[in-house]
């Protein structure tokens, strides 16, 4: 049993992590812009990236199902293990639900999603202002929940690394950064 994640799992984790952080910033920024060509452009980029993240998460889940991740060390208390798994499950659910809610919101607001301006996604719901406003609230709420879970996820990883000094964080780091724990100088 390996004690580190596979290179593929690491790549997908960090690629999606960077995209999500960018998307969170972009989402909150573009929402308050006055209508302009830039705003329409940013919205399109946001949608294209959202669809891309959704597809990457599908790939990631397929990889996750077929490649068992390294187990948490026995030193981690059972409650924390359950908590960690719960947060991971929540993050996976949100990484699928957030793009879905954005896609549905686009349709309800009457702006079809066309991936990279080339591949049109079907409108699963008809244009409906009330539904569009509701889905905007859903999209925002799910993102606030995502931010909360991310703070827990990142906080826990940092706590394990700097306080518990275990390998929880390093086993997900790229191998050129991660070094085996320094045992000569505790």
């Amino acid at each position: 049993m390996s004690h580190s994640y596979t290179a593929t799992a690491k790549t997908l984790h960090w690629l999606i992590a960077i995209m999500i952080l960018g998307m969170l910033g972009l989402g909150f920024y573009m929402h308050n812009l006055p209508l302009s060509p830039e705003k329409l452009q940013l919205y399109s980029w946001h949608k294209w990236t959202g669809v891309s993240i959704f597809l990457l998460v599908i790939i990631r889940l397929a990889w996750r199902v077929t490649h068992e991740p390294p187990p948490l060390p026995a030193s981690v208390p059972r409650l924390q293990q359950w908590l960690a798994h719960g947060v991971h499950l929540g993050l996976y659910v949100l990484m699928l639900a957030i793009p879905l809610s954005g896609w549905l919101m686009s349709s309800a607001k009457g702006f079809q999603t066309v991936w990279f301006g080339v591949l049109p996604l079907p409108d699963l719901v008809a244009k409906d202002k009330a539904l569009g406003d509701l889905l905007l609230t859903v999209h925002l709420s799910l993102n606030l929940l995502l931010v909360t879970l991310l703070l827990g996820h990142v906080g826990a990883a940092l706590k394990h690394h700097f306080i518990d000094k275990d390998t929880i964080l390093t086993r997900m780091l790229p191998s050129f950064i991660a070094r085996p724990p320094d045992t000569t100088n505790p």
Binding site: P37, E38, S44, Q112
Partner: protein, 186 residues
């Protein structure tokens, strides 16, 4: 020969009853003016809710037909309040200075099979362009439905100035489709 022409014109003059119908009254509730365009590769549509038309069209004498259509530009429905407010503004229609778009026919040519080419002048935002619009006529009971579509370039009418004047976000081509249902006036 002269006699024959005289007889024919007399006949036409004396017997207006042979004119099957002359469509003059446009039924606003059964008529529509819509438009489509692409924005970031996404097909968008909208419509104008308020327009008036003056029409006289006798299918037996299409060359005599006349049509004037005035569209209240502030009645645009782009799908969002934000969009409606934006296009009423100075860089788009500037509806305060130019409240109406106007089409006035100058000649009508029968193309056969209830199809016509209506040439005329289209004036939007103080700019006039000659256009030729293909129109099909479909009799519906006592009414006639005139339908067709044509494409204008918004740049020709300065619709979308300043930061909107490039066509990478909102395309230059705007396709306008119309359906005018008219009944006989008498």
């Amino acid at each position: 020969m002269k006699r024959l022409v005289l007889a024919l014109s007399l006949n036409a003059g004396l017997a207006p009853a042979v004119h099957a119908v002359e469509y003059t009254k446009v039924q606003v509730d059964q008529s529509s003016i819509t438009f489509t365009y692409t924005q970031m590769g996404v097909t968008m549509d909208g419509r104008f809710k308020d327009f008036t038309s003056q029409l006289s069209f006798d299918p037996a004498q299409p060359a005599q037909a006349k049509a004037t259509i005035k569209v209240a530009l502030a009645s645009i429905a782009t799908g969002t309040t934000e969009g409606d407010d934006e296009v009423a503004g100075k860089s788009w229609f500037n509806t305060k200075a130019f409240p109406t778009a106007r089409f006035a026919s100058s000649s009508v040519k029968a193309l056969g099979d209830q199809r016509y080419e209506v040439a005329g002048q289209l004036t939007i935002k103080g700019k006039t362009q000659a256009i030729a619009i293909p129109v099909s006529l479909t009799p519906q009971g006592s009414a006639g439905v005139f339908a067709g579509s044509f494409t204008i370039r918004r740049g020709d009418f300065s619709i979308g100035e300043g930061s909107w004047s490039t066509f990478d976000v909102v395309a230059n081509d705007i396709k306008i489709s119309f359906k005018l249902t008219a009944v006989t006036g008498t």
